[in-house]
């Protein structure tokens, strides 16, 4: 529980929200959810912390705008819907953040912007400048132009890379699951949530199988990949359910919600 008590002190926080948290299963936007999320992010930011949002949802929003029944399969359709949806998504965030007079910035990145050393510095400087101005960056993969060589593939991984890039203290992954379970809770009634993980053991990896809804690309596997990146960088990570975005406050109060991946002990051991 000591690791939980420490969450109160986290200053620079990356929060990732998945497509399934922003939309209904038919791909239409869950405006109430977004409004609540925005309010919580604003409150956290106002409390003197620095907030960086990584938001999925562009492809689903674009598909919804065009009236498609389900998410497109092929790459070109997906990219076109990302371009359409990204415009809409950032407008919606602006609308809700405007109600709190909170400025946001839009940052669309591809993997090379973070992995190539000269461009990495450029991206880092830009993000630090943005948060230094008390503006909340809203980051997404630039799906419109990302080819497989330069794509993160999923925003769980992207958000971990971002957390590492900006030297964040905490990464929060919000999705439609409560956390890491001892078994698949949709199939096994005895499945119970694991509240704390201190090392990515083969057993932990084995728990992370399966996928999410038809509109989301992530699953537990990508969250464990993100946890590994956080482990390398000594960044704590929490997986929690987005059904009530105020869970972010609970996490920061040190309450036992979701699954905390804490590697403080691990990094101490290395040192």
């Amino acid at each position: 529980m000591k690791a939980r008590n420490n969450l109160y002190n986290k200053q620079r926080i990356v929060i990732k929200i998945g497509t399934s948290s922003l939309t209904f299963s038919n791909g239409k936007l869950n405006f109430q959810r977004i409004e609540k999320l925005v309010k919580v992010l604003y409150e956290v930011q106002s409390a003197g912390k620095q907030v960086i949002l990584v938001s999925s949802g562009a492809v689903a929003v674009g598909s919804g705008r065009l009236g498609l029944e389900k998410k497109p399969e092929n790459v070109v359709d997906k990219q076109a819907m990302a371009a359409l949806g990204q415009a809409e998504l950032i407008r919606i965030y602006q609308k809700f953040f405007d109600e709190h007079s909170q400025l946001v910035a839009q940052v669309l990145i591809t993997k090379d912007a973070i992995t190539l050393s000269d461009r990495r510095k450029t991206a880092k400087d830009a993000l630090l400048a943005i948060i230094g101005m008390h503006v909340i960056p809203i980051i997404n993969e630039n799906d419109t132009v990302a080819t497989e060589e330069i794509e993160f593939g999923d925003n769980d991984t992207l958000s971990a890379y971002v957390a590492d890039l900006v030297d964040a203290d905490l990464l929060v992954l919000l999705s439609d699951i409560d956390g890491l379970f001892s078994a698949d809770p949709r199939k096994d009634p005895d499945a119970r949530i694991i509240h704390e993980v201190y090392d990515i053991t083969p057993e932990v990896e084995a728990l992370a199988s399966g996928k999410g809804s038809s509109f989301s690309t992530g699953g537990m596997a990508t969250k464990i990949s993100a946890a590994k990146i956080c482990m390398e960088s000594g960044i704590d990570m929490v997986i929690a359910n987005s059904v009530n975005p105020a869970v972010i406050h609970d996490i920061l109060r040190g309450e036992e919600v979701g699954t905390l991946f804490s590697f403080g002990a691990f990094t101490e051991m290395k040192a």
């Binding site: 674009g62 705008r65 065009l66 790459v75 070109v76 359709d77 990219q79 076109a80 371009a83 359409l84 990204q86 415009a87 809409e88 950032i90 407008r91 965030y93 602006q94 400025l103 946001v104 910035a105 839009q106 940052v107 669309l108 990145i109 090379d112 912007a113 461009r119 450029t122 991206a123 400087d125 830009a126 400048a129 943005i130 101005m133 503006v135 960056p137 809203i138 630039n142 419109t144 132009v145 080819t147 060589e149 330069i150």
Partner: protein
């Protein structure tokens, strides 16, 4: 069917108070939608992220440092696409946001990727609004000698025409990709110019498209 690239300098959409003049954006949106409704395709290449971001941040002068420009661009990029969406919503016209960097033009696979995305959007009669992805990269998209973004986009998509909005309300400059001619025109003239290229009426195949002589000079001299 023709493809027309509209090149919009943000200054041409500002009012005297240096804020976005929604009436001006509205006129532009109506013109572009008119052309699409007539069966043509439109792409917008727009500047303005840094200017709009600076205004939004309450800066009195444009940022000087590389990093401050990037930050302003990130704020302004969100604002820019919102302005376009609001204006185009009035006419039930969808717009999409496409942010490009130099690599998207010079790396073959990324080039074809960008082309495919733009063509797909136009196929759905969605207007791509293209801007440089300034928040992660401030290298200008410049190929060869000072060859600006609108020309790149026109070549990438095989557009027959570039329409440049001027500072004078309702006035445009048409760059005819097939004749290499540059003409000044009002809104009516822009619509007529697009109507001149009906299927099979003297249009050249895309691979023979050239922006020779004075068109290129014009674009280079009139860069932001």
């Amino acid at each position: 069917m023709i493809k027309a690239v509209f090149r919009i300098e943000i200054a041409t959409l500002l009012g005297e108070d240096n804020l976005i003049d929604l009436r001006k954006v509205g006129r532009l949106a109506m013109l572009c939608t008119q052309i699409i409704n007539a069966g043509h395709k439109v792409i917008i290449v727009s500047s303005g992220a840094i200017v709009l971001g600076s205004v939004r941040q309450g800066l009195s002068v444009l940022p000087g440092s590389h990093t401050a420009k990037q930050a302003a661009a990130a704020v302004g990029m969100a604002e820019l696409i919102r302005v376009y969406q609001q204006a185009f919503d009035e006419f039930k016209q969808l717009v999409a946001q496409v942010l490009l960097i130099n690599d998207d033009f010079v790396v073959p696979k990324r080039r074809s990727n960008a082309t495919n995305t733009l063509n797909k959007l136009m196929q759905h009669n969605i207007i791509p609004v293209i801007n440089e992805n300034d928040s992660v990269s401030l290298e200008d998209i410049v190929l060869g000698d000072n060859y600006p973004l609108a020309l790149h986009v026109a070549q990438l998509t095989g557009a027959q025409m570039i329409v440049v909005k001027t500072g004078q309300e309702g006035q445009y400059i048409i760059l005819n990709g097939m004749t290499g001619r540059v003409t000044e025109s009002d809104e009516e003239g822009v619509i007529q110019a697009t109507e001149m290229y009906k299927e099979g009426e003297g249009s050249l195949p895309a691979d023979r498209m050239k922006y020779p002589g004075n068109v290129n000079d014009f674009m280079t001299e009139n860069q932001a």
